[in-house]
Amino acid sequence: MSYRKQTEAAFKTYLAGKVGVPVYAGTSDTIKAMPCVVATYVGGSQNPPHVGNMDVTMSVSIQSEIDEEGQPNALEVHDELLSAIEDALFEPAILDINSATDFHLFGVTDHSGIERDTEGTILRETITITAPCALGNF
């Protein structure tokens, strides 16, 4: 059990309940279909010291292929997906993630983004949050 594995698993399950597209944990190398959501553990620092709780930084990306000829309304679908994910990452909604096993999120201390980047016809928008977390069922 590691913070990366538990945190990504918790976010994957939580976000999958919010959107009707695939949610992947970890790197975008595993993407098999778009539009999709990718939840990635960026890093963490212990807070408070000696305790084992971590301030965890997670990035959540929404990825879509914007090809209006091949997939009409792709941008509209992407926007709705982004809105749903953004709402899900704010408090108090995000506290529902605490139904996950061996994972607890106390709150969100930092919420940044939305950062947008494109690669060909692929549009990726990323929200980054930092949250004090613990691995336990509280």
Partner: protein
């Protein structure tokens, strides 16, 4: 060739080998709080009152110190402890909130230690006792008495207690912090 210095042993953190302290707060013979604290800061200070005698020229010829006292300031996060007071049978947020809400007050006795069976040499308040459970004071030293308590909840931080306690040192004062007196 100059020697290369690669490190020195130094006291580190709020306590050697980790920052978890044991606190026991008593009101009379009753435990009000008995559990742990992740201390973020510990301060021990010594001070006193003083008086001087002067000669006919106004020169100080004698300096007297009295009312020596030791003041302990603790800041940290209190945590659930199974078997403590309150008893954290359930290691959950409800118990954590109840623990934080424990009503300690100025005037309560305070004992602080490394664990359940050993006192903390640098701050302990008793004479020749080595157990935090032992509430007796002998040899002229007193126990810590809490003089102020502050509980802090702030946005994006874990809730903390800040406690200030005082011990009047009425008799023997030893040569260093780690002696019993």
């Amino acid at each position: 060739m100059a020697a290369t210095i690669k490190g020195k042993p130094l006291p580190y953190g709020t306590k050697t080998d980790g920052g978890i302290l044991t606190l026991r707060v008593k009101r009379g013979s009753s435990d009000i709080y008995y559990g742990n604290m992740y201390a973020s800061e510990v301060r021990v200070s010594y001070d006193s009152d003083s008086n001087t005698a002067v000669d006919s020229n106004g020169e100080t010829i004698s300096y007297c110190v009295y009312n020596r006292r030791r003041t302990l300031s603790l800041t940290g996060i209190v945590i659930n402890t199974s078997g403590g007071t309150p008893d954290a049978v359930n290691d959950d947020l409800a118990t954590a909130n109840a623990t934080f809400g424990t009503a300690i007050m100025p005037g309560d006795d305070l004992f602080v230690g490394y664990g359940t069976t050993s006192e903390w040499d640098e701050v302990h308040a008793e004479d020749a006792d080595t157990n935090i459970n032992n509430t007796q004071s002998t040899g002229g030293t007193g126990n810590y008495v809490i003089t102020s308590v502050e509980k802090t909840r702030s946005n994006t931080s874990f809730a903390e207690w800040s406690i200030t306690a005082i011990e009047h040192i009425t008799a023997v004062v030893s040569d260093n912090d780690t002696s019993d007196n």
